[in-house]
């Protein structure tokens, strides 16, 4: 790796200086002259008919400049694929927190006062807030017009189940017939919020010529542009989206929220309008991770060989499904784990209920699947009296195997990843005390696909610009784009500039998400840089008197200069090469698009926990995380993704749950909804496993999402190892542990079977 110039190195991030000084501008920091403050009025009911809305009293309040209801906005339905979300509720509200009106006023206090002066008469209607009931009940429909919605993968009518996905391989009845033992269990996971520190923010300004400028905390500026243009009914060129730094995303910043309301309020008031969601609004009406009920059934031979596997998942989608770009969740496909199983059937059911709509949250669907599958693997190992590592090792996918859903992945290195994790952890070593436990879990997730364009420019002074509309919600992705260009052009990082630019000033980029930026945006930068390098060499060949047809082989680059490989003293600077073609700059634009991924990335996490059986308190002491990354362009950034994903996953395992009472979220604050604090963070040992080639530049794979998947089951398995009770309903709270210990009839100091010792 020492041969590399700029990649494979933990270079400092290009944006960290502006972030440690407070200079970095986020959307809520932008203020315009004459700007108004917008707020939304929200439904207090899970399901009701809006009989009438009277805004007269609100409009009469001094300082109020605009009030809007559904009557003032387009009746278009919004969605990233399935279109079912109204801009403001029209006639009917479907969850507590749904927006029914909005106001803009000279300050926030006036806007808040105005909300209370909007008079709404509701007629409450019967509601469905339990996903099992909603699945069965056909007398109450969350969307009676679902059959008319665009974007439905398969037509459905008169049902709350808007999508049923299946994946099959082989014939499970045949598989179960061969099995010596059959295991079955049900797991549940709650809704959890992405927990980004920056809440959604938006601002819209409409110029006299009708051109619309949008500031948005969204991570996908080009999607904001197209959705806004569609709503307003103008060509996309009339909408310019200005990105700011994004204060965390984790899947929650891919859809527009208050941007359309800002537009309509601004149009009515004739002044720019900014809306910033409160933390409470985030919890009532964000787009969190779906809760799930997952049933697993496995047919196993006494030897430990997995022969049949059935999985079904029920996801509570809430009142709307438009926040999911694929309608379903990719995680459904992960319900067969990372194992060689000949006969598999997976069913995923997505159900409307009268609760807050769910969306994408870091590895959509994967953490739920991973928790169920990897907890289940330990239960199977327990039933077979096998070591949990051994059971996994025996069934682990190897090169040439088909995935549980029948995909032929290239370069499977799961065993290498497992082996690295086990060797670096305390697996198999004596436990320091009685209630110390260790647990293992594996997961996989492919690099994301998509479309990006980028421009790379070498200027007459030898400096380099990258123009890319990609976003970096904190991952370091845009630093990595600079490293890629620096590597190709062999110029120091300091000479490369990549600014945040608006949608008029950059070519199209699909935006961050799905673990695609390093691969897709990375390839566009990589290819554009190669093209620029080719042109520089062509120019330099004339100065260096090198035959043009051989120049690409005979000339190389280093530190911003071109030189003859045969005689490195003969060289020209990039600036000379640019000027030699009588131009001010040499530039190239490349578009890269990919929709197929032929490999995946594996991970193994090993968690070590200390449990206090009296109080049920679990402390995660140490996590060893091995990740297949292909090639780490920026190892520190990759570690940062893994460390952050693990601590987020520990929250999913032990703390986080959006509690509901009849559909209403009852813990909508960061005091009652617990994220991990500094005191919950364990020691994390990260192992970056390189070598299995990925599709990204320099054979890189993705790392953003997978780290949050295997950690929860690793913790659950460690808790079982420590105290001998299995919690299959997240989060694993002290209350559940104490109750389970009592019910299991075990004394508080009993423990599960020794497992590490057998390896």
């Amino acid at each position: 790796m020492s041969d590399f110039y700029a990649v494979g190195k933990s270079v400092t991030r290009i944006d960290s200086l502006s972030k440690v000084t407070g200079e970095a501008v986020y959307t809520a920091d932008v203020m315009l002259p004459g700007m108004l403050y917008g707020l939304a009025k929200r439904s207090p009911h899970s399901h009701a008919r809006i009989v009438r809305i009277n805004t007269e009293r609100a409009q009469a309040l001094p300082g109020v400049k605009a009030v809007i209801t559904a009557a003032d906005v387009s009746d278009i339905l919004l969605g990233l694929r399935l279109r079912d979300i109204p801009i403001l509720a029209r006639d009917e509200v479907r969850f507590v927190g749904e927006k029914i009106a909005a106001v803009a006023a000279v300050d926030e206090e006036t806007a808040r006062e105005a909300l209370d002066l909007i008079d709404v008469e509701y007629e409450e209607l019967p509601h469905l807030t339990d996903v099992n009931e909603a699945m069965k009940d056909k007398s109450i429909l969350v969307h009676k017009d679902v059959h008319t919605y665009s974007g439905l993968p398969k037509p459905v009518k008169n049902t709350n189940v808007f999508l049923h996905e299946t994946y099959t391989k082989g014939e499970t009845s045949q598989g179960f017939a061969q099995a010596d033992l059959v295991f079955e269990h049900t797991f549940t996971t709650p809704e959890v919020h992405q927990g980004y520190m920056e809440t959604h923010a938006a601002m819209v300004d409409i110029a006299s010529d009708g051109n619309i400028t949008v500031w948005s905390s969204d991570k996908v500026p080009f999607r904001v542009r197209s959705l806004m243009a569609e709503i307003i009914g103008v060509p996309i060129t009339r909408v310019r989206v200005i990105p700011s730094f994004v204060g965390g995303d984790f899947g929650g910043k891919g859809m527009i929220f208050d941007e359309p309301l800002c537009y309509y309020l601004a149009r009515k008031a004739g002044r720019p309008v900014k809306m910033v969601m409160s933390r409470q609004e985030e919890f009532l009406a964000g787009s969190p991770r779906h809760s799930s009920i997952i049933r697993l059934k496995a047919g196993v031979k006494k030897s430990g060989e997995l022969v049949a596997w059935e999985a079904s998942a029920i996801y509570d989608s809430g009142a709307y499904a438009g926040y999911k770009p694929q309608v379903g969740l990719g995680g459904t496909k992960k319900l067969g784990g990372t194992y060689r199983i000949p006969h598999v059937r997976i069913d995923g059911y997505y159900v409307y209920t009268h609760t807050l709509p769910c969306g994408h949250c870091r590895a959509p669907g994967d953490p739920q699947a991973s928790f169920a599958v990897e907890s289940f693997m330990d239960m199977i190992a327990g039933g077979l009296k096998m070591d949990p590592f051994q059971l996994r090792w025996q069934n682990a996918l190897e090169d040439g195997d088909l995935s549980p859903t029948g995909e032929p992945w290239k370069g499977i290195n799961l065993k290498e990843v497992m082996d690295a994790a086990v060797k670096a952890s305390s697996w198999g070593k004596p436990k320091p005390n009685e209630h110390y436990g260790i647990g293992i879990a594996c997961a996989e997730r492919p690099t994301g696909t998509g479309e990006s364009s980028a421009v790379v420019i070498v200027n007459g002074d030898g400096s380099v610009n990258i123009i890319s509309g990609s976003s970096d919600p904190g991952t370091g992705a845009r630093t990595i784009l600079c490293q890629i260009a620096a590597e190709v052009l062999k110029v120091p990082m300091e000479q490369i500039t990549i600014n945040l630019v608006d949608t008029d000033s950059a070519p199209y980029d699909q935006g961050a998400g799905g673990g695609r930026t390093t691969f897709v945006a990375g390839q566009s930068v990589y290819r554009a840089a190669l093209e620029v390098k080719r042109e520089l060499i062509a120019s330099a060949s004339k100065i260096l008197q090198c035959p043009p047809e051989q120049a690409q082989e005979l000339i190389d680059v280093r530190d911003g200069s071109l030189f003859l490989k045969s005689d490195p003293s003969k060289k020209v600077s990039y600036g000379q090469a640019v000027r030699n073609v009588k131009k001010s700059q040499i530039m190239a634009e490349e578009t890269f698009a990919s929709s197929v991924m032929e490999d995946t990335c594996f991970a193994t996490h090993i968690a070590e926990v200390q449990v206090d059986p009296e109080r049920g308190y679990v402390e995660v002491k140490r996590v060893t995380a091995a990740h297949d990354i292909g090639f780490a362009i920026n190892p520190a950034a990759a570690e940062g993704q893994i460390e952050g994903g693990i601590v987020q996953g520990i929250g999913f395992a032990l703390l986080e749950e959006m509690q509901r009472d009849k559909g209403k979220v009852t813990n909508p604050t960061l005091a009652d909804y617990k994220l991990c604090t500094s005191r919950d963070a364990p020691e994390i040992v990260t192992l970056l496993i390189e070598g299995a080639p990925g599709a990204g530049p320099f054979q890189a794979k993705s790392i953003g999402e997978l780290p949050t998947c295997p950690i929860a089951p690793a913790v659950a398995n460690a808790v079982f190892d420590a105290i001998g009770v299995r919690i299959s309903d997240l989060p694993i709270t002290g209350e559940k542990i104490v109750k389970a210990l009592k019910e299991s009839g075990l004394a508080a100091n009993s423990r599960g079977t020794e497992k590490g010792a057998q390896t």
């Binding site: 000084t21 904190g474 500094s678």
Partner: protein
């Protein structure tokens, strides 16, 4: 009704006329126009708005701006001195302790308060000092490392 309030922020005096119910974070962001202090919850749960008030870290969303008169307020914009970054800032950059950056100003202010009183804190003291500052990106790991780096230098 608005009242005159004089605030001392990062050594500068600001004469403001503000509504008495306005919080320090709002006045810093919207009147003084220092937007480095972030709002993540507005009720004292997340720590993104942490500033120093007479050297002590406070959630500026829980402080009425008028009550900060006569006190020395230091925000993230006042952490670097004469163009030189504070050792904590330098270490955050070096160790990759910054991701989305939204919690970073608050975290840095809590840690500055710690190292001002305790130049060589133990890992446990660091964890306690910033337990009121939520970070969703980093898992805190590289923040701990950055504090270690910064305090080793001082």
């Amino acid at each position: 009704m608005k009242i005159p309030v004089q605030l001392n922020v990062n050594g500068e005096t600001y004469d403001l006329v503000i509504a008495p119910y306005r919080t320090l974070v709002d006045v810093l962001r919207e009147e003084v126009r220092l937007t480095g202090s972030k709002k993540g919850c507005d009720v004292g749960d997340c720590g993104a708005c942490t500033v120093l008030l007479d050297g002590k870290p406070v959630n500026s969303c829980l402080v009425l701006a008028a009550t900060a008169q006569g006190k020395e307020i230091v925000t993230i914009e006042g952490l670097a001195k004469n163009g030189k970054l504070h050792p904590l800032q330098q270490a955050f950059i070096k160790e990759g302790a910054v991701q989305c950056g939204y919690c970073t100003p608050g975290v840095l202010m809590s840690l500055k308060a710690l190292v001002d009183h305790n130049p060589t804190p133990t890992p446990e003291e660091v964890k306690i000092a910033m337990a009121g500052n939520l970070c969703r990106c980093t898992g805190y790991t590289k923040i701990f490392k950055a504090v270690e780096t910064a305090t080793r230098q001082t």
